[in-house]
Symmetry: C2
DNA sequence: GCCTTCTTGAGAATGGATGTCAAAACCGTT
DNA sequence: AACGGTTTTGACATCCATTCTCAAGAAGGC
């Protein structure tokens, strides 16, 4: 049975305060700065169990690092992430879900699962970039 | 300038003969079996440069391993992959492309890029599984 | 064939993630 | 409030895909 520990609470709280996707290592560092000392392995384990329970979402970066985020909605959804500042918008796309299933079944596949993530540069970051020129 | 070497040709040929996504390590092993000895580092380098040139597609597995495949079409497309046997169907979804861009711009994001992969169990593998029960 | 430049390969290094296991913490029970 | 079975922790080792290093080996223009 899952027990409530100081460490799990700390990781959960930290995620609550953050808005963007963070890596296990970043969270570990953030907790250390706060004075909440939590072992790195524990941060990894906690994030994994939170992800398994659907309490946080996982995003895999181009570099193969896992990023975690507590989302507004627990239901299935996707993300539009700013590649510069990490700002994240939650997206739910009934259109895509339907498309994915339809494409899958039309090829005789069952138990269709999809991975969809959108990346872009948000308005703020695009402005900042053009101001530099 | 890019030179043509025995190793690059070997990797390219091996990909030509295969239909499913393979990892660098698998390709390295396949080449070794054939007698085409190519260093592992070279396989990695070659696959990376082929991917950069758009000659092969890359797929990231759940476990964080990169898989490579020479595709029929060089244009942008997605994949429907059987999670059991790896059989792969190329998908082009003008619907999704449009959706992705529209969602992105409606939130003020520019330079929208998307990652879409579909996984499922193909008809053959689903039959095999049900026959086992 | 020569020579410059690019490529190769064996092994070391990297880095995120997971395994190990004794010590510490939970928490229902007494 | 102490007990005790069970879970969790944390420091460290380990794993494993990938990348780095750099001397030795090929490509290919001349």
């Amino acid at each position: 049975m899952q027990r409530m520990t100081r460490q799990r609470a700390a990781v959960s709280d930290a995620l609550e305060d953050l808005d963007d996707f963070r890596s296990a290592q970043q969270l570990h560092e953030i907790l250390r700065r706060r004075g909440d000392n939590v072992g790195l392995a524990t941060v990894y384990r906690t994030l994994q169990s939170l992800a398994d329970g659907g309490d946080v979402d996982v995003l895999r970066t181009e570099e193969g690092e896992n990023l975690y985020r507590r989302c507004e909605r627990r239901e299935h959804h996707h993300h539009l992430v700013c590649r510069v500042c990490g700002r994240t918008v939650e997206i739910d796309g009934p259109t895509v879900e339907a498309w994915a299933n339809q494409v899958g079944t039309s090829h005789g596949f069952v138990d269709i699962q999809h991975t969809i993530e959108l990346f872009g540069t948000c308005a703020g970051c695009a402005d900042a970039a053009s101001a530099q020129d």
